[in-house]
């Protein structure tokens, strides 16, 4: 190509907000050459078209809440900032559907929906997260048990492809099986397949009442028994959480519905959990937040994994709840915290060195494999992260690479951030 335009100029021609990147905007230490913040979907498409012409590696950025998740990019020429794509396009309250742009924060979306007594039934573990980022990282919290994660609530998705084409799938009706569901494919794809620019969600009414029932349990076996008791009862909890740390193990059950119903169900859950159960309008302090620590491990651990009796607790303070979980995979790790949801997702937070994290990961993977579970490092300090296998086994990696190659043959979208070097 003769006399190529400077990338910054080329980008500036199609987008009103383009500038060079700053070192503090680096993605896990990789500083972007440019930052572009398109104000419309069309502008975003143009930016992507120019990026394709210029061969720029692109990383989408929303609220920067999970930009440090995963692996550092192989390169980062352009940060595509979605913060100006922040409109609610349509809130069809009568249809319980909302369509919004990707850069809208989840909090702002919730405000708009609450105005009509509705909500998107996704927790926001990290404040400031955007619609697009939430989908791209598949983020969800305790409500996952009843409502699922973004893949279950996105009913329509608009993306901009690596080549700058705008593509839509789904629509704005909940029931729809026309064509492939790109919404599910893009959920949790970490910006490696395209840039999410708009999404439509199915909504739920805000329940008129709710209650949290919490209790302390002495060990994992009791936690398991209590979890099974609640799961197999007909109380239909919206969430069932387990928190374990140096202080022991706490269970929390969220019930939502009409006031008469919630009151009766909360009493039943309290009965199931036994003496000492507490009913409150307010969530426990740890509810819906990731555990503390410099390393965050996400685990897939179905309820049966709680039945892994601790091998032995010698050398461990018996009060250390985390150490009692999952066959004592977490025993002996200082300051380890765990949040686990009955949906089968959990998080382990710890502050440890590379060798310790590697050890914990290995033990978790061995134990959880018996339950068809696994463990993935979400974030970790640089020295720790590079020392580990962040993702663990990825069964369908060949297919994933082929899908990636179709969407991004030049490997320019968040390169190297995802599984298997994708």
């Amino acid at each position: 190509m003769g006399g190529p335009l400077d990338p910054l100029d080329a980008l500036a021609k199609v987008c009103g907000d383009v500038r060079p990147g700053e070192p503090e905007e680096g993605v896990l230490g990789v500083t972007p050459r440019f930052v572009a913040a398109p104000g419309t979907v069309a502008e975003a498409a143009e930016v992507m078209r120019v990026a394709a012409e210029q061969g720029l590696a692109v990383i989408p950025r929303g609220g920067e809440t999970r930009l440090d998740w995963g692996l550092p990019p192989g390169r980062c020429d352009l940060l595509l900032d979605t913060s100006r794509l922040d409109r609610v396009i349509e809130h069809a309250a009568g249809d319980l559907v909302v369509k919004a742009e990707a850069g809208l924060t989840m909090e702002r979306l919730a405000e708009v929906l609450a105005g009509r007594g509705q909500r998107l039934s996704l927790d926001v573990p990290l404040p400031g997260s955007t619609v697009g980022g939430t989908i791209a990282t598949g983020a969800a919290g305790p409500l996952r048990l009843l409502y699922g994660s973004p893949r279950d609530l996105v009913i329509g998705l608009t993306i901009v492809r690596a080549d700058g084409q705008i593509a839509r799938s789904g629509g704005k009706v909940v029931k729809n099986v026309a064509g492939y569901d790109l919404g599910r494919l893009f959920a949790g794809s970490y910006g490696t397949l395209g840039v999410i620019v708009e999404a439509a969600f199915r909504l739920h009414p805000v329940p008129s009442a709710h209650a949290y029932v919490t209790t302390r349990v002495p060990d994992a076996a009791n936690a398991h028994e209590a979890v099974q008791g609640v799961l197999h009862s007909p109380v239909a909890p919206s969430a069932l959480e387990c928190e374990a740390s140096g202080d022991g193990i706490t269970l929390g059950v969220l019930l939502e519905g009409v006031p008469e119903g919630v009151a009766a169900r909360a009493t039943r859950v309290a009965d199931l959990l036994g003496p000492g159960a507490d009913i409150s309008h307010e969530p426990p302090a740890w509810w819906g937040a990731y555990p503390d620590g410099t390393t965050l491990i996400e685990v897939t651990a179905p309820p049966s994994a709680l039945a892994e009796a601790p091998a032995a607790t010698e050398g461990t303070a018996p009060a250390d709840g985390a150490a009692l979980l999952w066959g004592a995979a977490l025993a002996g790790v200082e300051g380890c915290q765990v949040r686990w949801s009955a949906s089968g997702k959990g998080y382990v937070g710890l502050t440890a060195n590379a060798a310790e994290v590697a050890e914990v990961l290995a033990r978790l993977r061995t134990t959880l494999a018996r339950h068809r579970g696994g463990a993935v490092v979400r974030y970790a300090p640089e020295g720790v992260r590079t020392a580990d296998d962040v993702w663990g086994p990825v069964p369908a990696l060949t297919l994933m690479r082929r899908v990636k190659a179709q969407f991004d043959p030049e490997h320019r979208l968040s390169p190297g951030r995802f599984v298997g070097g994708i």
Partner: protein, 482 residues
């Protein structure tokens, strides 16, 4: 390198045994269509594998020979998704019907693809669980078919579709490899992409389904209205009040007439519309909400409300609704079951438009729909003995889909695109949209041998530059349409 079909049949018989390979034309023809009979194509070979390994072997043989193949479960699809290829192999999973595992602590079960939907529920019911997706064909449709079609049902308003109730699938990829796609695994949600791909991305050989706790109580009422509009008002009021019923179904006068003729369901005489509302869940929750629903139904002008006192009464209320499709056969020699979706709030306008369309064309349309999620099932009636009637019905049926698209809806809520609606896809999606979907297809099936000719009207050949598309697929002309 050229493998002929007879040679392939021999190789398959060696791999699977003679009993599992059908080549006799009389027998083959019984597989020429699924639940949608106006598209027919006799497969060249039918195989009846009994294991995942056998399916993988068949796919590998087909891949090596460059011969297309189509998977079929119970053959109940309503969009021709399992329509065979005259030049290919039909892989029927009806012999793979073992329930492999019931894991109550984790609320899941592992089944083979040929297991019948309702049999999953029957097997787990003793533990207090059921399999939530409940398509009308649940007593015969296979779980593998449910995965392919992302099946829903009357109760998906509250409980969602198959995609929400499948945790993992072992699949045979178009390369003939066995791979497990699981919701919890790291990487892309290929499981999410696979479910609802109508058999074009591979064949599922083992499915881990989520089991749902049987609700403590179920309450059902039937409300009769003078008009569809009044019934629609009730639906809006219920949704507006923040109630999420398990199901809201509506039938119009013509479909009530048909159901009455067929099963004598005894709906209130003179009803212009009946609404069925079902709530389920914890007893105290349902009791409070049900009173609210009843009040709202009355306020919307119901001239009669019946509340099911027990299971038998509930079955009677559902009887008319469940028999509606088949029952229409009693008031019309032939009919097309349409499946379209509109935003729920557009219901009154769209139904008025359908009425106008019906009046203008002289084609009768009976309406049965999942009112809660705007999923319409207009039944377009015609007399197949009358020349031109089928074409007129087809025309009306197509224009109803246009109405759905105009109102921001979908051309299919649960029956799938299959071969029947592939030609409507460009009305709902742009070329770029369809090309993007094709990228997924090309990632899974670069050779285009896995159920080709379905879902997409003019598939881009893999390896082409996106945006460049070939003319009509040769297969388009091959199906014997009558």
């Amino acid at each position: 390198m050229e493998t002929t079909l007879p040679a392939l049949a021999e190789r398959l018989a060696r791999a699977l045994g003679d009993e599992a390979v059908i080549t006799d034309p009389v027998r083959l023809r019984t597989y020429e269509c699924d639940g949608l009979t106006n598209h027919r194509a006799m497969p060249a070979i039918v195989v009846l594998p009994e294991s995942a390994e056998q399916i993988a072997a068949v796919v590998r043989e087909c891949a090596a020979a460059g011969i297309p193949y189509v998977a079929r479960g119970s053959g109940t699809g309503l969009s021709g998704g399992a329509l065979p290829r005259t030049d290919g192999v039909l892989i029927v999973t009806s012999r793979m019907r073992r329930i492999l595992e019931i894991d109550v602590p984790n609320q899941r079960a592992v089944v083979e693809p040929g297991v019948i939907n309702l049999d999953v529920t029957r097997a787990v019911r003793p533990y207090g669980y059921y399999f939530a997706p409940d398509p009308s064909s649940q007593q015969i449709c296979s779980v593998g078919g449910n995965v392919a079609e992302n099946s829903g049902g009357a109760h998906c308003l509250k409980y969602g579709f198959t995609a929400h109730h499948v945790l993992a699938c072992e699949i045979v990829t178009p390369d003939g490899e066995l791979v497990t796609l699981a919701a919890g695994d790291p990487g892309y949600d290929l499981l999410g992409a696979f479910i609802g791909s109508e058999g074009t991305l591979g064949i599922t050989t083992k499915i881990t389904v989520r089991l749902t706790r049987v609700p403590e109580t179920v309450q059902t009422l039937l409300a009769a209205y003078d008009s569809i509009e009044a019934g629609g008002t009730a639906v809006s009021a219920i949704i507006g009040a923040g109630v999420v019923p398990a199901a809201i179904e509506m039938m119009d006068a013509l479909s009530i007439e048909a159901a009455e003729a067929s099963v004598a369901c005894g709906y209130p005489p003179g009803a212009g519309a009946v609404l069925i509302v079902e709530l389920d869940g914890p007893e105290p929750e349902v009791a409070a909400q049900f009173a609210e629903v009843e009040r709202l139904c009355r306020e919307a002008g119901a001239f009669e409300i019946r509340i099911a006192a027990d299971d038998a009464a509930r079955a009677l209320i559902w009887k008319g609704r469940k028999s509606a499709f088949a029952a229409v056969g009693r008031i019309s020699p032939a009919y097309i079951v349409q499946d379209g979706v509109i935003p729920r709030t557009a219901l009154p306008q769209v139904l008025a438009s359908i009425d106008a369309l019906s009046a203008e064309s002289g084609v009768r349309v009976a309406n049965v729909f999942h009112a809660g999620d705007g999923n319409l099932h207009p039944l377009v009636l015609f007399d197949d003995a009358e020349p031109g009637a089928a074409e007129r019905a087809e025309e009306v049926s197509g224009r109803i889909l246009d109405l759905c698209i105009e109102h921001g809806g979908s051309i299919t809520g649960e029956h799938g695109v299959g071969v029947d609606k592939a030609r409507y896809m460009p009305r709902m999606f742009s070329d770029a949209d369809l090309d993007t979907m094709q990228m997924v297809r090309c990632g899974f099936d670069p050779a285009g041998l896995c159920n080709p000719g379905k879902v997409f009207p003019t598939p881009r050949l893999c390896g082409e530059v996106p945006g460049v598309r070939k003319g009509p697929h040769p297969y388009e002309g091959k199906a014997d349409i009558f």
